[in-house]
C-alpha cells in the first residue's frame, strides 16, 4: 500500500570541466511515497538542484556524467530510459516547478498555450478540451478570470501569479510526482505562504508525491513529512520531520537548526552560525566533507568518510559520532539527548504495538 513511487539509490552525478570531473552528487539515496512530501534541504551548492534535475534528466548531456546509481520510478530505472521514454514521463508522471517564475515562462507565448502544450503532448484531448482543461487549471491555482487570462502573456502577470501558472503547467497532466525546486525562494513572504498552501491543497486533491527542494527550514517545517539534509553532494541525515527538527543526530543538521531564528527565544540570544564555508567539490578529500567545520571532529573524520547509519526505521545519519567505537564521553550532550528520546520514542512505539 505505502509503496515507494520513486527510489533514488546511490546516485552519483559529476560535471565534466576543464580540470576533470567534479562530483556534484555523491551517493545520494532516498525514496518517495505516494502523496508524501520529502524536503531536501541544504545550502547552495550542496547538490539539491542537481539531484532534482537528474531525476528529470534535465541536466545538459554534454557535460554531465552519472557514473553510478539508479533512479527507479514505479520500479523502472529511469537512467536506462531512451529519450522518447523519458520525454513521455516528463510532464505527465513527473513534473517540475522551478525557482524563478520570472524566467521560467516563455515570454512570447500566451500562457494558455504554454499550459496546453503539455496536455497535447501527453493526452488525447482535442484542442478545445485542452483549452478547457487549461482554464480549469488556472482556476484551480486561483487565477481570476481564467478564460481571458489564457490569452495573456507572462509579462502581464505578477511574480506570484506566474508561479501559480508554472504550478498549473506542472500539474496539468495530474503527475504522480511534483519536484519543486525552491518554488518560493523568489517570492515575497505572503505570496510564499499562498503558494505553499496551494501546493498542499493540490497535493491532497491529487495525491501527488512532492519533492520540495529548499534552504528555508521554515518552509520545511510547514510542508514536509520527511526531510533529507544534503551537504557537499551527500545526504548527511534523513528522517521524519520530527526526527530532524527535534532529534537531529548530525552536527550539520544541528548547526542548521541553531542558525535559524526562533520567535520564542529572547532577543539577546544570538544566532549561532556554522563557521567556515562548504568545501570545494573539486577538491574533496577522503574524509567527512563536514570535518573542517564540525565542532566535534575526531581524527577519523579527516581520513575516512562515514557511511550511513540507521538510527531508527526512518532516520539515517552519516557521522562517526554514531559509530559504536566512538567513546561515549566524546559524544556531545545534544546528540546524546536526541538519541535517548529516539530510543524512548521507539520504546513507546513498541509499547503501543505490544
Amino acid at each position: 500500500m505505502n509503496q515507494n513511487i520513486l527510489e533514488v539509490d546511490n546516485l552519483h552525478v559529476s560535471f565534466k570541466t576543464r580540470n576533470g570531473a567534479v562530483p556534484a552528487v555523491r551517493g545520494v539515496s532516498f525514496s518517495l511515497k505516494k502523496g508524501e512530501t520529502l524536503a531536501i534541504v541544504g545550502e547552495s551548492g550542496s547538490g539539491k538542484s542537481v539531484t532534482a534535475k537528474s531525476i528529470m534528466q534535465l541536466l545538459p548531456k554534454q557535460n554531465t556524467v552519472i557514473p553510478e546509481g539508479t533512479i527507479r520510478y514505479e520500479g523502472k530505472d529511469m537512467l536506462k530510459f531512451s529519450n522518447k521514454e523519458i520525454q513521455s514521463v516528463r510532464g505527465s508522471d513527473i513534473s517540475m516547478v522551478f525557482q524563478d517564475p520570472m524566467t521560467s515562462l516563455n515570454p512570447t507565448m500566451k500562457i494558455g498555450k504554454q499550459i496546453m502544450e503539455g496536455l497535447s503532448r501527453h493526452t488525447q484531448l482535442t484542442k478545445k478540451q485542452a483549452r478547457q482543461r487549461a482554464k480549469e487549471m488556472l482556476e484551480l491555482v486561483g487565477i481570476p478570470n481564467p478564460e481571458t487570462r489564457l490569452d495573456a502573456y507572462p509579462h502581464q502577470f505578477s511574480g506570484g501569479m506566474r508561479q501559480r501558472v508554472v504550478i498549473a503547467i506542472a500539474l496539468a497532466c495530474n503527475p504522480k510526482i511534483l519536484i519543486a525546486d525552491e518554488p518560493t525562494t523568489a517570492l515575497d513572504v505572503t505570496i510564499q505562504a499562498q503558494i505553499l498552501r496551494l501546493m498542499r491543497n493540490l497535493q491532497e486533491k491529487m495525491d501527488t508525491g512532492i519533492i520540495l527542494i529548499t534552504h528555508d527550514l521554515g518552509v520545511v517545517a510547514n510542508m514536509a513529512d520527511r526531510v533529507a539534509v544534503m551537504y557537499a553532494g551527500e545526504v548527511v541525515e534523513q528522517g521524519t520531520l520530527d526526527e530532524i527538527f527535534y532529534r537531529p543526530q548530525h552536527p550539520y543538521t544541528l548547526g542548521l537548526l541553531r542558525s535559524m531564528p526562533n520567535l520564542d527565544a529572547s532577543r539577546a540570544q544570538p544566532l549561532i552560525p556554522i563557521p567556515g564555508s562548504p568545501p570545494d567539490p573539486s577538491a574533496l578529500g577522503t574524509g567527512c566533507p563536514f570535518a573542517a567545520r564540525c565542532p566535534y571532529t575526531m581524527k577519523v573524520c579527516h581520513d575516512y568518510n562515514p557511511g550511513a547509519v540507521a538510527i531508527s526505521e526512518s532516520q539515517a545519519v552519516r557521522c562517526w559520532l554514531q559509530d559504536e567505537r566512538t567513546p561515549p564521553e566524546h559524544i556531545p550532550a545534544e546528540i546524546k539527548e536526541g538519541r535517548r528520546s529516539t530510543e524512548e520514542a521507539a520504546a513507546d512505539a513498541e509499547g503501543v504495538t505490544a
Binding site: 521560467s104 512570447t108 502544450e117
Partner: protein, 310 residues
C-alpha cells in the same frame, strides 16, 4: 499606437530635412562645375548657363529654391541629360538595384539563419567552428573581393553564371550573392549568440520538463525567441546592402541606381546627387521604421501604445 506612428513620422521628416540640408551644403564645397565641357566654355557662356540653372545666385537662395521645389515634389532636372527629370531617372534605374538588393537580403538571411542555427545547436563542434570561421571571413572581407573571385571562378573558369551585364535572371545571381556575404555573416553570428542565450534560459528547461521532444523545444521555444532580436538587425543590414550596391553594380555592370549615383558624383550632377541621396535616406528611414513596428508585433512585451507599464 496612432500617436506613436505620427510621432515617428514627424521625426522621419525632420531627419530627412537635416540630411537634405547637409548634403546640399557639402555638395557646394566640391570643386568644379556640372558642365562636362567646362574648359571649352567662355566666360560669358558660363554666365548664361549659370543663370539658366540658377547657379549665379547665392547658396542661400539656391537652397531655399531647392527646398521650395522639393516641398512640391519636384526634384529638378539633370544637368547631364538634357530635359530629363531626376524623378524619371531614379524611376528608370531603381528596378535592377531593388531586385539584386532584395534578393541579396533574402539569400543572406536564409543562409545566415541556417549557418547560425546549426552552429548553435552543434555548439563547440567542428560544424560550429567552421561556420563561425566563415562568418568572420564574411564580415572582414569586403564584398567586392568576393565579387571579383566569383566572377573569375564561377563566371570565367566554370562558366556557370554570366560574368557581368544585365541580361536575364542568371545575371542577377552573382551580384546578389556578393551583396549577401555581409548579411549572411552578420545574421549567422547574431542568431548563433541569440540561440545560445535562449538555450540557457529557464523557460527552455520548463519546455523540456513538459515532455516536449527536442525539435518541439527548438522550434517553438528557442528559434522564435532567438529570431525576434534578429529582426532589428534587418534594418541596418538593408542599409549595408544599399551602400553595397554602389560598388557591386559597378563591378557587374548592373544598370542600377548605385551606378547612376557614382556617375552623378563624378560629373557633379547636383540635382541627381541630391535626388538619389534623398531617395536612399528616405528608404533607410522607412526600413528602420518598418522594423520597429514589426518588432512590436513580434514581441508581445513591446507596447507601441507607450505610457502603460507592463
Amino acid at each position: 499606437m496612432k500617436s506613436y506612428l505620427l510621432k515617428r513620422f514627424l521625426y522621419s521628416v525632420i531627419t530627412l530635412f537635416i540630411i537634405v540640408s547637409a548634403t546640399f551644403l557639402l555638395m557646394q564645397l566640391l570643386p568644379g562645375t556640372p558642365y562636362s565641357n567646362a574648359e571649352k566654355l567662355t566666360e560669358s557662356q558660363r554666365a548664361i548657363l549659370d543663370a539658366k540653372y540658377g547657379l549665379d545666385k547665392p547658396v542661400a537662395v539656391q537652397y531655399i529654391t531647392y527646398i521650395g521645389n522639393l516641398l512640391q515634389g519636384d526634384l529638378g532636372y539633370s544637368f547631364q541629360y538634357q530635359g530629363r527629370t531626376v524623378m524619371s531617372m531614379i524611376g528608370d534605374r531603381v528596378g535592377p538595384s531593388a531586385f539584386i538588393g532584395l534578393q541579396g537580403l533574402v539569400f543572406g538571411t536564409i543562409i545566415g539563419l541556417i549557418l547560425g542555427i546549426v552552429s548553435a545547436l552543434r555548439h563547440n563542434t567542428w560544424l560550429d567552428y567552421t561556420s563561425v570561421t566563415l562568418a568572420v571571413l564574411g564580415m572582414s572581407i569586403p564584398s567586392f573581393v568576393f565579387a571579383a573571385l566569383m566572377q573569375y571562378y564561377i563566371g570565367v573558369k566554370l562558366g556557370w553564371l554570366p560574368v557581368a551585364l544585365w541580361e536575364n535572371y542568371w545575371s542577377t545571381i552573382m551580384p546578389s550573392l556578393a551583396l549577401s556575404v555581409t548579411v549572411t555573416a552578420t545574421v549567422a553570428r547574431f542568431i548563433r549568440s541569440e540561440m545560445l542565450e535562449v538555450l540557457g534560459q529557464d523557460y527552455v528547461t520548463t519546455a523540456r520538463a513538459k515532455g516536449l521532444n527536442e525539435s518541439g523545444v527548438i522550434w517553438k521555444h528557442v528559434i522564435r525567441n532567438a529570431l525576434i532580436p534578429v529582426v532589428t538587425m534587418l534594418g541596418p543590414l538593408a542599409v549595408s546592402i544599399m551602400t553595397g550596391t554602389l560598388v557591386i553594380e559597378k563591378i557587374f555592370g548592373v544598370p542600377g541606381l548605385g551606378e547612376q549615383f557614382t556617375l552623378s558624383i563624378l560629373v557633379l550632377d547636383y540635382s541627381v546627387i541630391m535626388g538619389i541621396t534623398l531617395f536612399y535616406s528616405a528608404l533607410f528611414i522607412a526600413v528602420v521604421f518598418i522594423v520597429d513596428v514589426l518588432y512590436g508585433f513580434l514581441d508581445p512585451r513591446i507596447d507601441l501604445k507607450g505610457g502603460s507599464q507592463a
